[in-house]
Every structure is written in structure tokens, then in C-alpha cells.
């Protein structure tokens, strides 16, 4: 390995380990607040909330989504549902008809213009002090809204994000996402403590209406309007917190292809919004998000790509050596004896092992936060084995498209 390659590896490992330790320290310092939040009594004086459900060809899932909102433990007179049909061409309109007589529900229809335009269309009809959105592929738990509202403990807090879980995962790709999402639940909570939540996810982030009154509506924002609005809020020093115990279920992509498309859109959106909001990077006035979290999020993409690249090159070199060996000396079918001596224990291997342990610790903590218990399932093995190999697929493509200013397709 050349000196430069070695230095990059050491630096990348240092940055990755530092991030894990920083997050684990945040957890250790703030774990009592997590418990306190979980024990906090539900508010009795509940404010009125509107939930916008943008939908485009969602005939399969829309009923379940609406029913889960209707089923919320929240006073009916204080909960409005605004459904915006963004020019669906399937049977969505007919499915929606069965809700027409429900006084809580308002059904709107417009020409197709993308999710952000559907949200803005719905926002015009909002008269309540709080507003949120629920994607038509997501469902809420009964207590979710109450828990979220209970997190608006001061007038400073302008938005509260929920904890998102994967709905009934079955395929390997979904099981990998199950671990990834629970890791996300931990991460978002820590970012909340740091005042650095940089995304208000489409599924059920609740805002004060004031946010949109002051900042305007959603923007196209490279297909990631939920990321842009959070950055715009930070830019205007508006506070976002996370309710880790307010659960939302989302239907995760079932195949690698659909996951790739979704993540390509997210990463591409992230990178392009970062370019739009580059004025926040390394600026003290934006605190942790500007000084550490956003730069770290960008650097982590390069680290992931570099590690995978190195892994592939090393595997190719070893493969070529093995091929040459078989070619020269034939295939030796005898099993080589195992000897500890031949395990290469260098600083890189040791630090990588420590990072892996840190990852496992975070997975366990996030499971405790999400499911109330710690357990080791096959999903964790899939995640540890495959995630590092598949994530670079969309990271590389998103980076390429951003660098050469190429648009990506929406769905």
C-alpha cells in the first residue's frame, strides 16, 4: 500500500471512529433525558393539527394510511386530514371517494406537479397552528401525534420529527433497512440533542404553521423537499427536535433496484441541497450542524466510497494472485490448517474491529430505544455484511450525477 493510500485509510478510520465515539458520548450524557421524555405525561390541552397526505397513484396503500390517521388517539375536532391527489392516473380517486363524507377529511385534486407542489397546495387549506404530512406509503401508531405534540415544550421548538420504522420487513433488502432505520432512530435523537437534525422526514414530521408562514412553502429542492425545509429552518435559526418514541411505519423498498432508486434520489438531493446551502458549512453561527454534522455527512460519502474502492481493488489483486497460483500449480483441494500466526493484526485491523464494536453498540442501543429490548437477529448480520457493499452503488452514482450536473429520474 502506498504512503498516500495508507494515510487516507488512517485518516478515514480516525474520522469514523471519532464520529462513533462522539455519538456514544452524547448518548451517555443524555440518556437520562431520553428516559424522562418517555415518562413525560401526555398533554391535556391539545392544539388543532392538520395532516396533509399527498398521493400520486397510491390506490394500494392510501386507505391504510388514512385509516391510521383516523385511528389516532387525538380529539376528532382537532385533527384535520387534507388529502391532495397529485393527478393520479390509477384508481386512487375512487378509493378516496369512500372518505368523502367524513367531516375530518378534505379531498383535493390537482394536476400532477410533484410532491412539493402537492404539499404547498394542501398548505393553502391549513388553518390550524400545527401541520404535518404523511406519505401515502406510511402509517402512524395510535399515540404518535400526542407524543409528538408533547415534545413542543417551548415556543422555540418549530418542528418535531418522529421515529421511523420499517413496516413488516420480509426481504433481505428490507431487513437491512430495518437495522438502518433503527440506527437512524438513534442518530436522529443524538442530532436532536445537538440541535442538528438536518432532515424533517416526509412521514409525519409536525411543524408549527408559522414555519411556512415565515419561510414560504416547500421547494422542489432536487426531489428532497423534506431535507431542504430543514436546512432552511436551520438557516433561519429555527429549532427542530426529535420524538424517538413517536413511531411511524413506512413500507421500505422490497428489491435492491427500488432501494437503489430511492437512495439515489435521497443522496443526489442531499448533495445538491448541500451545494445550495454551502453557506452553512463551517460557520460557527450554525453551531453543531454547520461545524460538524453537515461536513461529516459529506465526508462520510467519500470515506464509504474510498473504503469500498480499496476493498474491491484488494479483492481483485488477491483474486488475480489466486488465479495465477491455480494456473501455475493447479487447484489444491486440501484444507489449509488454521494458524493464528497468519492473521494479519495491524493497527488498521484493530481500529476497524473497534469501529465494528461501536457499530454493534449503537445498533443495540437503537434497538433498545426502538423495540424496548436488545436482541441479535439475522437482520444485523445482513446489515453488517451487505450494507457497506450496496450503499456505494447509489453514493457513487449520486456523486457522479452531481459532479457532472446530470438529473436523475424521479421514480
Amino acid at each position: 500500500m502506498s504512503d498516500i493510500a495508507q494515510t487516507i485509510i488512517y485518516l478515514s478510520l480516525f474520522i469514523s471512529l471519532y464520529f462513533e465515539i462522539f455519538m456514544l458520548l452524547t448518548y451517555l450524557e443524555r440518556r437520562h433525558s431520553i428516559k424522562q421524555e418517555e415518562d413525560r405525561p401526555m398533554p391535556t390541552d391539545l392544539p388543532a393539527v392538520s395532516v396533509i397526505v399527498p398521493c400520486f397513484n397510491e390506490e394500494q396503500t392510501i386507505t391504510k394510511t388514512i385509516e391510521s390517521i383516523l385511528d389516532l388517539d387525538y380529539p376528532k375536532e382537532k385533527l384535520n386530514i387534507i388529502i391532495v391527489d397529485d393527478g393520479s392516473t390509477d384508481n386512487t380517486q375512487n378509493v378516496l371517494n369512500r372518505f368523502r363524507n367524513n367531516k375530518q377529511i378534505e379531498i383535493l385534486k390537482k394536476e400532477n406537479g410533484g410532491k412539493y407542489s402537492a404539499l404547498n397546495f394542501g398548505l393553502k387549506y391549513v388553518t390550524t397552528p400545527f401541520v404535518g404530512c404523511l406519505d401515502a406509503d406510511s402509517f402512524v401508531e395510535k399515540q404518535t401525534l400526542k407524543i409528538i405534540i408533547s415534545h413542543f415544550t417551548s415556543s422555540e421548538i418549530m418542528a418535531v420529527t418522529p421515529a421511523i420504522k420499517v413496516f413488516e420487513p420480509t426481504s433481505i433488502i428490507q431487513l437491512i433497512q430495518k437495522v438502518e432505520y433503527s440506527w437512524g432512530i438513534f442518530l436522529r435523537k443524538m442530532l436532536s440533542f445537538l440541535g442538528a437534525i438536518y432532515i424533517t422526514p416526509g412521514p409525519f414530521s409536525i411543524f408549527r404553521k408559522q414555519v411556512f408562514d415565515e419561510l414560504g412553502g416547500y421547494k422542489h429542492a432536487h426531489f428532497t423537499e423534506d431535507f431542504e425545509i430543514a436546512l432552511r429552518m436551520h438557516s433561519n435559526h429555527m429549532k427542530i427536535v426529535n420524538a424517538h418514541n413517536a413511531h411511524i411505519y413506512t413500507v421500505a423498498p422490497y428489491t435492491l433496484k427500488s432501494l437503489y432508486k430511492q437512495r439515489l434520489r435521497w443522496t443526489y438531493g442531499f448533495l445538491n441541497n448541500m451545494i445550495d446551502y454551502r453557506h452553512m458549512i463551517f460557520r460557527r453561527k450554525f453551531g453543531n450542524i454547520g461545524m460538524y454534522i453537515l461536513p461529516m455527512a459529506i465526508v462520510s460519502i467519500f470515506i464509504a466510497l474510498y473504503f469500498t474502492g480499496t476493498l474491491i481493488v484488494n479483492a481483485a489483486v488477491k483474486g488475480a494472485e489466486r488465479f495465477e497460483q491455480i494456473q501455475a500449480a493447479g487447484l489444491n483441494l486440501s484444507i489449509p490448517s488454521f494458524d493464528l500466526f497468519f492473521i494479519n493484526i495491524n493497527p488498521i485491523a484493530i481500529v476497524t474491529a473497534v469501529i465494528l464494536l461501536g457499530t454493534l453498540a449503537i445498533i443495540f442501543i437503537s434497538r433498545k430505544m426502538t423495540y424496548g429490548r436488545v436482541y441479535l437477529g439475522r437482520d444485523v448480520f445482513y446489515f453488517l455484511l451487505f450494507y457497506g457493499l450496496i450503499a456505494p452503488l447509489w453514493l457513487a452514482k449520486a456523486l457522479y450525477s452531481t459532479a457532472f450536473a446530470r438529473d436523475i429520474s424521479w421514480k
Binding site: 480516525f14 471512529l17 471519532y18 465515539i21 462522539f22 458520548l25 452524547t26 450524557e29 445537538l194 460557527r284 453551531g287 453543531n288 461545524m291 460538524y292 494472485e321 495465477e324 497460483q325 494456473q327 501455475a328 500449480a329 493447479g330 489444491n332 486440501s334 500466526f341 497468519f342 494479519n344 493484526i345 495491524n346 493497527p347 485491523a349 484493530i350 481500529v351 473497534v354
Partner: protein, 227 residues
């Protein structure tokens, strides 16, 4: 940025740095342990060879049975494998690796000389290959694979490998008395020198007894299967 945050940034930095330093020291400690293990094997082999030599000098006529049991070709192979792994991980320029390699080369020469005498006296039926290679040589790498394979297949085949450019008078003498030229890899079998890559078939041609050994092994394998 709030004060507790700055403290956390610093504490995380200290912990990360400590883990890194520990990793570097731990890796170094393990590496030293491995080198110590290699030295121990070398010393054992050295003692074994020395004891055989002393024995032969004392008795003039040495006992074939005794000698046969003392020299452990397996041990020398074990040492070679460990040394080449260490060379791979620490790099050929490492001073420790260089010293170990010199010692290993000496042990190989001593073993070769002694075993040749044993062979002559006792008719142990061993065949010897002296193999010369150099760093950064693709053909040598391939030749290494072939010889390793042959060594595994035929325990009576004793392969001694030498870095052509090693700074060791004994190896230089070995090269000059056998008139080995620089075009490597070079394989020395029974007073014949073969330059360039020699495939398994080439070597089988140069050592006809390999075929017999192979047939014998096949026969044994079939009889075991049948029984």
C-alpha cells in the same frame, strides 16, 4: 456552540487518539511476538542441525536412524511459511525481516549439506532443489507456487529457496560455486540449472523419480479406498 458540546468534542478526540495509540502499540507488540516465535523456531532448528553435526563428528559413522529423526524438514517449512508471511506484512526492507532471512538462508544451507551427506550414507532417497529468486519478479512468484505445491505433494522433495540478492557471503558462495546466472527464477536440480519459469511438468521431467512417487501415492490411495 454550547460549552458542554466543546468539552464533548475534546473528550471524543482524546478517546479516539488513545484507541489509535493503543492499536499501534498492540499491533507492534503482536508483531514482536511473532518475530520472537520465528526466532525460537530458528534456534530449535539450529540446535537440531548442530546436534546432528556434532553427532556425526563424534561417531564418524553416524547412525542413519538417529539422524533421520533429528532433522525436521517440516520445521524448516513451518519457519519458511512464517518468514514469508512476515516479509509480506512488514515489507522486505524491514531490518528485522532481513536479519531473519539471512539466518533462515544459513539454516537452509546447513540442512542441505547435512541432508546430502545423510542421503549419500543412508540412501534416504531425498531429492534436492535449490531455488533462486529475486524481489518484484512475476515469474519467481509463479515458480514459488509450483515449488510449494510440489513440496506439499512430495515430502521427500527438499526445496531450499534463496533470495539471489541477499547480502550474505554463504549464499553468494552457493551462487558462485554453482555458477547461477542473474536471469531468474533459477532452479538447480542435480547439477542442472534451469532458468525461467519451470512448470510442474518441466520439473517432473527433470526429476523422473517424481513420477514413481506419484504412482506409489496413487496406489496407496486406491488400496486405502478399497479397504
Amino acid at each position: 456552540m454550547k460549552n458542554p458540546d466543546i468539552r464533548r468534542y475534546l473528550v471524543a478526540l482524546v478517546i479516539t487518539a488513545l484507541i489509535f495509540i493503543t492499536a499501534i502499540f498492540l499491533a507492534d507488540y503482536i508483531s514482536r511476538k511473532k518475530v520472537a516465535e520465528i526466532r525460537l523456531i530458528q534456534d530449535q532448528i539450529s540446535t537440531d542441525i548442530l546436534s546432528s553435526e556434532v553427532q556425526s563428528s563424534l561417531l564418524e559413522e553416524f547412525s542413519c536412524k538417529e539422524i533421520g529423526n533429528t532433522i525436521l524438514s517440516k520445521e524448516l517449512n513451518r519457519l519458511g511459511e512464517r518468514l514469508s508471511f512476515t516479509e509480506e506484512t512488514r515489507g522486505p526492507d524491514d531490518a528485522e525481516v532481513e536479519a531473519l532471512k539471512k539466518y533462515y538462508s544459513l539454516l537452509q544451507i546447513k540442512d542441505f549439506l547435512l541432508m546430502k551427506r545423510v542421503n549419500e550414507k543412508c540412501g534416504a532417497g531425498n531429492v534436492f532443489i535449490l531455488y533462486f529468486y529475486k524481489e518484484s519478479c512475476d515469474e519467481c512468484q509463479k515458480q514459488g507456487y509450483v515449488l510449494t505445491r510440489l513440496k506439499e505433494d512430495f515430502p521427500q522433495l527438499r526445496v531450499y529457496s534463496f533470495d539471489y540478492n541477499i547480502d550474505l557471503p554463504a549464499v553468494k558462495t552457493l551462487i558462485s560455486i554453482n555458477e547461477i546466472k542473474q536471469s531468474l527464477p533459477a532452479v538447480y536440480i542435480d547439477d542442472n540449472i534451469f532458468y525461467g519459469f519451470q512448470s510442474i511438468e518441466d520439473i517432473e521431467k527433470a526429476i523422473p523419480i517424481l513420477k514413481e512417487w506419484k504412482e506409489e501415492q496413487d496406489k496407496q490411495a486406491t488400496s486405502t479406498e478399497e479397504s
